[in-house]
Symmetry: C2
Subunit: 362 residues, 2 copies
């Protein structure tokens, strides 16, 4: 297939390998594997998980839950704080599938007592240190209050505690990720012990790709919900969470201009394609993507010293090392490894596999 | 209309006023008004410009040109470096409409000599100091070479010189924007004088919203191509380019959680809705949007001391001033003024006017 404009390439083999590895780790550790589908948001890619025995999934919006429910998924956790304004759609979903929602506030239980028409599972969102949302694990009074409020609503089935250790994305080393993981396990273990006699089937669910990829000890954990691992990206590469050969997506971008004085290439490929996510290098340089050479069978390792240095709406600027500019011609197509593949996939809206198959994105 | 999830609200009256003001300024200064439609990318909003006599437009991709050509626009400049890989679509467009393309490199003229099937207008992209793309205005040898290459291709009609003073977006004050505008005019005046005897109909086209909004002297300029002014945004507000009452879009977001200890609100509204654009305050705090109160007739001025402090894929976190948290309840819907409205509109994909009309986005 001829590429003439920014196109999100997907290496299906790498993707399947990523799924296989995570699925095997889950089996080895006797964990429920409930992958987060917000990264790919694709019915076809979702279907690839079925071959690995996956029947339970995670999403981050009611719309995603509707999309995957329509594709036959029957057990879905919406890992986003319950939004009472969407109760109508939640009721429709709960009629058809096993739906789990996330609660943080007792007033949501009160609201649901009046409005909920079908049974749903509930996970209490616990904040183990990321401080985005959820109840701080140490605030057992607040947790007690919410547990009681949930217990009083017949249609709410308390399933367990869920956390997202998103601070692993800001770690400086795999060692720091390990420390966060150990702390998270310890905090959740105490919590489980506190409530286990009252709720013997209580599960503990964790979700971040860095911990799930790097760690091997999940004692006390019952479920993992990683999402990003399906594609990985430059952020995970820099964290030491994946190898470059595991990154399964690249945006193919036409070269439209060259500047000899600044040793730069201009590509057709901007913020609306890659998203505006960037990483800061140690010397405080913003990098919006790494550059790879495309071939029939995929793409090369990231090219040394090359990176996307800025993004406008449709333009990207690539810094080229001294003496290498002549290797790139106007009309060439080069590949960009995204900083954050979830955001890039969401911006691009569809995938092209190396075999030429087009896959949809919600 | 009931809002239950992130929704891009459009204040049509503000939008029409923004269009009217820019259109009048163009008339007053006898400038061709060729607005950039990349900001709204909407057939319906595009149609609003027709009442102000607009017949010529700017876009930033071949796909946008196709979209607006299909909606009846007959004179379109693609203000993006010519991408030779899209020659097939460019040929189809040039058959039907007056199409202008942007050239930087003589080899593109050589390519077009062989591949172009219909006449197109050409603008030479000049770099007046933004250093994204284009030929540096002082490199007259390079410009001569390109002018000659263009002259040798029968189907290429040299129309003029085009620049985008994007550095005005990084200015620290309206005074600095003024200085950039004056320098740009001076540079382009010299250039026009150099080529006017050879090409008496040569035009000079400038485009940035900051200059076009703030400046009143356009001597030597023939055409303006601002885009962002149709909505404006927090970036333009902070630059002193617009007033808050001119910002014509806001993302309505449900409140899904509150945190008393951190004085924060969690909203349903993340990077996939607002885009990850942010501004750094003087004390180096990242702000991903300002907060407004929504009402039947639109929204309030930005609420003092409140801002979006971080964005995940679907979550947003809002910092609330001390003592104000009780004013916000779970289930409320609040408005976020975007940092960069072009990116937000592109992420959201459609508009809801205050009258309840849904407008499309490419």
């Amino acid at each position: 297939m001829k590429i003439v404009r920014p196109t999100l390439l997907l290496d299906k083999q790498r993707c399947l390998k990523n799924i296989e590895q995570m699925s095997e780790k889950a089996k080895r550790n006797e964990l429920i594997f409930r992958p987060h589908f917000k990264t790919h948001q694709s019915i076809q890619i979702g279907n690839w998980f079925r071959d690995f025995g996956v029947k339970q999934i995670t999403v981050s919006s009611v719309q995603m839950a509707q999309y995957f429910a329509a594709a036959g998924w029957k057990d879905i956790t919406i890992a986003f704080p319950f939004n009472q304004l969407e109760i109508e759609d939640i009721n429709k979903l709960a009629e058809k599938i096993n739906l789990n929602i996330l609660l943080i506030h007792p007033e949501s239980a009160v609201f649901l007592e009046k409005q909920l028409k079908h049974e749903v599972g509930v996970l209490i969102k616990i904040d183990c240190g990321y401080h985005r949302s959820g109840i701080l694990a140490e605030n057992t009074n607040e947790i007690d209050e919410l547990v009681n409020a949930i217990s009083q609503v017949g249609k709410l089935n308390l399933k367990g505690f869920l956390t997202h250790s998103g601070e692993t994305y800001h770690a400086y080393s795999p060692k720091q990720i390990h420390a966060i993981h150990e702390m998270t396990k310890y905090i959740l273990k105490l919590l489980k012990e506190r409530y286990l006699s009252q709720f013997p089937n209580l599960i503990i669910s964790i979700g971040d790709t860095p911990s799930c990829s790097l760690e091997d000890n999940f004692s006390g954990i019952d479920e993992i919900r990683p999402g990003n691992f399906v594609f990985y990206d430059v952020m995970q590469l820099k964290l030491g969470v994946c190898f470059a050969e595991q990154i399964a997506v690249a945006v193919a971008c036409p070269v439209v201009s060259k500047n000899k004085k600044r040793n730069e290439i201009t590509i057709y490929g901007g913020g609306v394609h890659l998203s505006k996510e960037f990483l800061l290098s140690r010397d405080r340089i913003q990098k919006f993507g790494l550059v790879v050479e495309l071939s029939e069978n995929g793409w090369s390792a990231p090219l040394d010293g090359m990176y996307v240095s800025s993004l406008s709406q449709e333009h990207g600027t690539i810094k080229v090392p001294f003496g290498k500019l002549d290797q790139f011609q106007i009309g060439d197509v080069i590949g960009i490894l995204p900083i954050h593949s979830c955001m890039t996939a969401n911006s691009m809206g569809e995938y092209l596999t190396l075999d030429g198959e087009v896959l949809e994105h919600l």
